[in-house]
Symmetry: D2
Subunit: 377 residues, 4 copies
């Protein structure tokens, strides 16, 4: 693991996600750019002191020098955005498989370069767009793909949070500090932190691509340096349209990602607060409540479930599904077999590059007087 | 009543709403432009044959000729949009109080002219924006006005329907036919039919005015002559922003108007499907569930409630609240007293003119390449 | 109307319910046993002074003396329980149709006598078990009757309220006072006030009869003279079993009647707080959400609905459905036709007698050390 | 781990729960009474072959022979009920800490004997009543304990499942087979499998004890050998009363454990399907929605949470909380410190004995003609 030392949020999430299925063992880390902090974190995590490194470069170099059977196989990179590219690139160049937190990089240019590096490597790559790991999100994608809803006409995605309603970066809030800092977060705040998730979710489930957008991007809290709120009109491939809302100043909201997609025959609705339910709506018959863990759901939903219906699976399980599928893909590679399509269904380079393109396009549109901006990659 | 003959939807709703509290008696009508249909409708409704007229002109002329104690006092006009202006104008000019279905007129120009007519008349006027009649919508407005949520930063309103997902106007659907016909509905379809409700609800609860908008207006169903879908970015007075979504092609959706408003201290959420609940969300304490009929709600909510908490009040009750408040205002006038502010809180001319301005502005924005359109009246 | 003067709750509900569809006109009343109060109430309600009477005897005598075309046709009796029997009997004996609030009488003996009186009369009779007026409760009954859920195995009904959590009868609460007074309410408090509703709802939807019961009946609030809480194990005809819970001391609960019924193939769930939804659950396919006002529901549900789906209908509409069906039945009688089965589906004598039997049986069981008490009528 | 070989349900759950926080490492197992199956299971789980045993006796004997630093510290016993007592006893007698699946034993007599054994041992013991691991269940218990709801008057607990609606034990369903077999499950079916959970949840949250009960116990599915349905009237210490419902034949239900508790000032409601929400209801102010991961919840809720609010935690996290608290308690022991009360709050011997007493009392009551059965241990 690179990053994720004491006080980090997402590093712990990655560790839970990796641990849940017993398919990973944490054996090495460079948990902080401060070697002391890194060492202390490694000790708390029970790592052998000689596998805790002072930098990602040292980690990669020294692990590579170990016999293949002993060295780390997968590197989880859970640093702030500005520290994604360099370690990911070095890891891929040295043949380590990489699991990288989103958004992929600091800029679209970095993302494209990383894509090139990855294309030349044999290593696998996963970008942790958590929400696509939920079984009912898998079900939603399969439902759209099946054509049962008809051609997609409209998609709404929203991601409301309230935790940045005050000037949190002015107090001792590490999470707020880096996310609102252009030097660490990049050109976008909310659009990068949660907008990319919403964008990815919409493209994943609809199977469509955003082709044009028109954004209203705001910095609501005085003194803040990056956007904390946005709303975007979308045009999608195939003639559909959509709306995306992502905000971090919706006071009182937690983290309720919500997606609705409508075709000419029916629609679907999913929201994280009721993550194990997929509502399927029809023009002229009752709404269906599809549920995680039941016998009637698609193989993709079933594959990403651990318990029978009625035993709620949550955020960590969704996250763990990414880790699990990545591991199953690697195991298949090692065994010389091809993994089943359900295991290969995790976000990768393409999603990462499009996410970075979204960030740059949406911020550009927000600054533009022109109504529609082409979505360029 | 003018309009609302057999086969009409909203006419029957008005009659239920008027009847519920026993404050109105239906005594006269011109229910159709076809005198035979009008007569037949009047008979079914149990009216005396001599009070059923062949046209609104005849109704107004002949009712005016009756002794004051006998003549109709209030005229409900429930015709399609293109037949709002003329009867409303004539009624107001002749001193009849008017309850008019929304949107107010066929065009903004008509709306302004009607406003001038009304200003010169002693007659009262009510526009039936039903949703503002719900007790918990009243509560929402009072909550925002109280300042408890802080300054409003963000407002989201949505009005998804699915009933026009197919080309209904091609079949024998009277409701679809006139709503999609530019000659009867006006310049807008969905934006006029449901968009105006959403717009009114947002302005009513926030107490703010839309100042600029940027609209994506679509005609999704092939062959349709007016918009059936739209999404609008909004800028509001006081620096807030918002998003409005109104569509009639969200297959499987019924009529779930939903509003969310966020200030810097908290937020609120109301949706028609759970109309007797107002969610009040706070930055750092539990969400509150405020309910119709409880002892702790505002005088405005209480005034618009008929039963103790736990006895759901619905759409007809919300509609009836407009009728009831209008009647209470008239009774106060007749008694030489002023009605309490709770009774005077019903939509009127100002809301009607702004609604028509919304329609024209949003359609113009939809056709424009310019990002932001000033909201002009 | 008999009873329902100023300060009464249910009288106003009956008036709204009667008014909603324009099928009734309130023309006469004996609103209170105090002639002054009755007169004052009549004046407020806009009745002609000569049709406001000082007692129900006077009302019935003098109305009967009027020409048939002028006299009142239907008498709504909305007095406390101890004043149900005498006016209902006198009304039926004199050929007036009767709508009576529940529970039917003060005792089972009275109920049986009233049944005998009614059998000898041509007058129609309706008992206002409101909850069976909801469209989705109609749908539930039809669904069970269709056999789609298989043979009923289990039924749960609950009726939790919290408004009697304190000793309200010690303060100036008229509603609490008579409901907790054995001289006015009868042998039961909560079991009569809300338990009968729950019992009726269960028998109505399942189509089964309670055959045995085992009750835990409590008076929770110190000083109270009647039960305010109860839970009852039920055995039903056909081998099914059930549980009924009714309480008025569930602090914080409003009035959320809820019913669940399970057959061997599926189950259903309805609750008043979401009255326009019927959940239909299946062993091996998704739960269905059936909704009021849709095209796919049964003729019984459709018949009892006024607005398209998505326009919530509430308690007053459910109540009004009883009044409307009663009126449609009378209109059919008057026209020499038979009303459609949907209109004839309202609670009557049989339900009233069984409700009173429930009260006496459940209180007896509560006092007994014997586990199972036969349900005797 | 003892039990939990291939095809078992709860064994995998225990492994996920143990793995999630990285506090346990699976090093040894006797996964099946069949040595071949045990070996195969161990291999799949990646265990060293010499730590996979053919029986629990062998496991305990040989692990005990290992140096203390190498031997297994905690034994998870996840066998069917009839195989709980013997391995648990042997483990405790040999100083191994034990985590045991519920219900504790095959009979109350065994449970008491195990309690005696444990009292004489230094080993810690945890019984996996999962539902008390949910953060909002912790919050519920703390809320009741705080007295804010007033004295508890009423408690309702329900546990509806539908998966045994058919004669599943007649087909190839291992889970159904042993749960409906008196030789493996004990004297009870549903009452042992899910009734004990409901009973435990009720006593845990209310802090009260069941003192008397009156049970209706049914075997609904023809041919089944144990109960699959029950409803129980409860009397609780302190004068409160309650109702418990547990069934496995509610066709279409998943696993929605639900608890409601009412005091004289307010009430609470929790249900597993919305596990991160605790509804707190008040007599005269709005219902509060308390949520997992927020800043305002009790230290007990916070201690049992891994992610910020809005990231749903589910069944495996609740299960993992038991494992985590057990590990934290052991770590504190090893460090010579006392664990914080939040870590010590996991179910143990006392809960196990009471659970077995519940099973025997409830089945006895079900067979009795006497109304109330004393709850004896």
């Amino acid at each position: 693991m690179i990053g994720g030392g004491q006080g980090a949020f997402i590093g712990a999430v990655h560790r839970h996600a990796a641990a849940l299925d017993g398919l990973y063992e944490l054996v090495a880390g460079a948990f902080s750019s401060n070697p002391e902090t890194s060492k202390a974190s490694g000790q708390i995590l029970g790592l052998s002191a000689d596998r805790v490194y002072g930098s990602y470069q040292e980690l990669i170099e020294r692990e590579k020098a170990l016999p293949e059977a002993e060295r780390v196989q997968v590197l989880s990179i859970v640093t702030p955005n500005h520290l994604h590219f360099a370690p990911a690139k070095l890891a891929l160049e040295n043949g380590f498989h990489v699991i990288l937190d989103k958004p992929m990089t600091f800029s679209l240019a970095e993302a494209k370069e990383l894509q090139t590096v990855a294309a030349a490597s044999n290593a696998r790559f996963c970008l942790t767009h958590t929400y696509t790991g939920y079984p009912m999100v898998k079900e939603a994608r399969q439902l759209v793909a099946s054509g049962e809803l008809g051609a997609v006409r409209k998609a709404y995605v929203e991601y409301p949070q309230g935790w940045l309603s005050n000037f949190e970066e002015g107090s001792d809030n590490k999470q707020a500090a880096w996310r609102t800092d252009p030097a660490r977060s990049g050109v976008a705040g909310a659009m990068g932190d949660i907008g990319t998730h919403a964008f990815n979710l919409l493209e994943y489930v609809t199977g469509l691509s955003v082709t044009q957008l028109c954004a209203d991007i705001n910095t609501v809290v005085p003194g803040r340096k990056l956007d904390d709120d946005g709303a975007v009109l979308l045009r999608l491939s195939g003639g559909a349209s959509g709306v995306m809302v992502a905000t971090q100043v919706a006071a009182g909201e937690e983290n309720n990602v919500r997606l609705r997609v409508y075709g000419d025959k029916g629609g679907l609705e999913w929201q994280q607060v009721d993550a194990n339910t997929l509502q399927v709506k029809w023009l002229d018959r009752p709404t269906e409540i599809r549920r995680t863990g039941t016998g009637y759901v698609s193989s993709y939903a079933r594959h990403n479930t651990r318990t029978p219906s009625g035993h709620p699976e949550g955020y960590l399980e969704a996250f763990a599904n990414l880790y699990r599928n990545f591991a199953l893909s690697l195991q298949a590679d090692l065994g010389g077999k091809s993994a089943p399509p359900e295991a290969l269904d995790y976000p990768g380079m393409e999603e990462g590059v499009r996410g970075m393109a979204f960030i740059e396009n949406v911020i550009a549109s927000g600054r533009s007087d022109q109504k529609w901006t082409e979505f360029t990659v």
